[in-house]
Amino acid sequence: MSLLRLRNLSVEFATTGGRFRAVDQVDLDVDKGDVLAIVGESGSGKSVSMLALMGLLPWTAKVTADEMIFDGHDLSKMSARARRKIVGKDLAMIFQEPMSSLNPCFTVGFQIREALRIHLGMDRKAAQARALELFDLVGIPDPEQRLKAFPHQMSGGMNQRVMIAMAISCNPKLLIADEPTTALDVTIQAQILDLLVRLRDETGMGLVLITHDMGVVAETAQRVSVHYAGQKVEEQPVRPLFRSPHHPYTSALLAALPERATDKRLPTIPGVVPGQFDRPQGCLFSPRCPYADDHCRKVPPAPRGPDLGLARCHYPLNTDERLAS
């Protein structure tokens, strides 16, 4: 049994213009020690699906799932109180903006010790010792002094390390990193990603990496799940995905990588992700897809088999290559 098993996860937001489906029938599995990358443009529902798992969405969101099983517990059937025993302990998350994700009124030490005291019932002394150890682990120099610092006294990269230290403080089984490097400098980005992968190696926790940076995916992930407009459109291990993407959207994303550009102009995907009021009737990607025909525009495609990367497409790409090999 996998560590995390999501089946048919959907999230709908009640808006003034009616219901808006931000996540649409998503299935995901993560094992221990797995690094799963979820990629897609802004508005593809990557973060929302993970926030739904954590139970962090506002009350306007309605979360439904056939299964939302984490470590043997079905989170969707638990009370809020029981869920709080798991969230923050076995299931942890870090966010995009480290500067605003820490409370400005408390020292970072207080914020780390708080989690330890609530979940593990540590006393002040034990929590302090563990916090020092954690700061050491995430590579924060001079931990004793830094624990007394307030978030505004540290850099974005340091704050993200604090967030990571806080997230892994109770030895979580699964860590969700929601675009952890987007707000950071490029040099710091690499350090933070290295740190996450190293921690995965050392603790054996599962890691879900939400990103829109294909370069990050190539360097860190084992499996990639591509999301578009709330749906999972393709999932493959990282190498086959880069070599032979089956969904036209994946292919277009990869073509837009600067490293892969052959032309003077960088290829882009025309148009934007459909919003609440311009959802197409058939395949959601059809208005932007170079291969789409009338059939695509009318009939929504179902996911294909595992050999085609579960691609939600009527005309998957690179099918010959599979036959040839």
């Binding site: 400005p104 009124c105 408390f106 989690a115 806080m166």
Partner: protein, 335 residues
């Protein structure tokens, strides 16, 4: 931190000078002549009038008069009342405890009810409790103080007979001022029922004076909490699996307190101003009533001194608020 405190103090001095200037000019702009008011209906001879003009220094240039006043103030001399001939300083501090006692009670009333009400309203945003509370607060804020006071007196003192109509304590009790605070003095006196009587006299004025600050604090707390609850660090706190009570009461409230403390500080000014109406209605022997009387008598030193002392109180409160910001949110200390 020390630099922060000193920089706050530096803004204190210009404000202080400004207040002396305004209070000095304010009373002199009003029509009316203190000497004629003093003479009363009998009037006085021109000779006596001229003599008094010289005695009070009204014959000197206005700037020289201000200079005399300012140098006096800086040496701690606020002058003597034209009417009672007693030092303004003494009169003020004989009456001030009554106002302070009333204001403190009103403030405690407003904060003790307003803060939790705002937090609970924010947690139940858009629901019945929130709507009821916020409409009530709006009514409380819009209501004229004197009308609200009369209404309460009619119902609770007149119809129900639960509370006394006016004064600080029943005439049955007599004891010496020790602190000037009736609640404390009545306890010290040890007389049976004195303390209860003092409390019963305080109830209505406290409610009347505290109503507007209560409404303002409740609404400000709610909006500050709503803003803070949408912040990223609240999401982090929830992601840590903290119980809602800790998230709202510690992580959110601490950040929401900055704007709330600001309105509490500003309310102190409103309280002292509102005290004038409340004290008049309830015959509360505080500085509000004293100031009103002095304005009618054109008692220049009293009005000037009273205004200045009230202004200094408000300034001290706001300075304290500024220092509290730094204590609550360490980010502000740096600026």
């Amino acid at each position: 931190m020390l630099r922060y405190v000193l920089s706050r103090f530096a803004t204190f001095l210009p404000t202080f000078i400004g207040v002396t200037l305004i209070s000095f000019a304010f009373i002199r702009v009003l029509p009316g002549d203190p000497i004629i008011v003093m003479a009363g209906e009998r009037g006085m001879t021109q000779e006596r009038y001229d003599e008094l003009v010289v005695q009070f220094g009204f014959d000197r240039p206005i700037l020289a008069q201000y200079w005399d006043y300012l140098t006096g103030v800086l040496q701690g001399d606020l002058g003597n009342s034209y009417v009672t001939k007693r030092p303004v300083w003494d009169e003020f501090f004989a009456l001030f405890p009554a106002t302070l006692e009333l204001s403190i009670c009103a403030m405690i009333f407003a904060v003790a009810l307003g803060l939790p009400a705002g937090v609970i309203a924010a947690m139940n945003r858009g629901k019945f409790f929130d709507r009821t509370l916020m409409s009530t607060a709006l009514v409380g804020y819009s209501m004229p103080i004197f009308w609200w006071a009369l209404l309460l007196i009619i119902v609770f003192s007149g119809n129900l007979g639960w509370t006394p109509v006016s004064g600080r304590i029943d005439l049955l009790y007599y004891f010496d001022d020790v602190t000037g605070f009736m609640l404390i003095d009545s306890l010290i006196s040890g007389q049976d029922g004195a303390f209860t009587s003092a409390v019963r006299h305080l109830i209505l004025p406290t409610i009347v004076l505290g109503t507007i600050p209560l409404a303002v604090i409740a609404r400000q707390t709610r909006s500050a909490m709503l803003e803070v609850l949408g912040e990223d660090y609240i999401r982090t706190a929830r992601a840590k699996g903290l119980p809602p009570g800790r998230i709202n009461g510690l992580h959110a409230l601490r950040n929401a307190l900055i704007p709330v403390i600001t309105v509490i500080g500003l309310s102190v000014g409103t309280l002292l101003a509102g005290a004038i109406l409340t004290e008049t209605i309830f015959s509360w022997p505080g500085i509000g009533k004293w100031m009103v009387d002095s304005i009618f008598r054109r008692d220049y030193p009293v009005v000037q001194g009273g205004l200045l002392l009230i202004a200094v109180m408000v300034m001290v409160v706001n300075l304290t608020v500024d220092l509290l910001y730094g204590l609550i949110n360490p980010k502000i200390r740096k600026r």
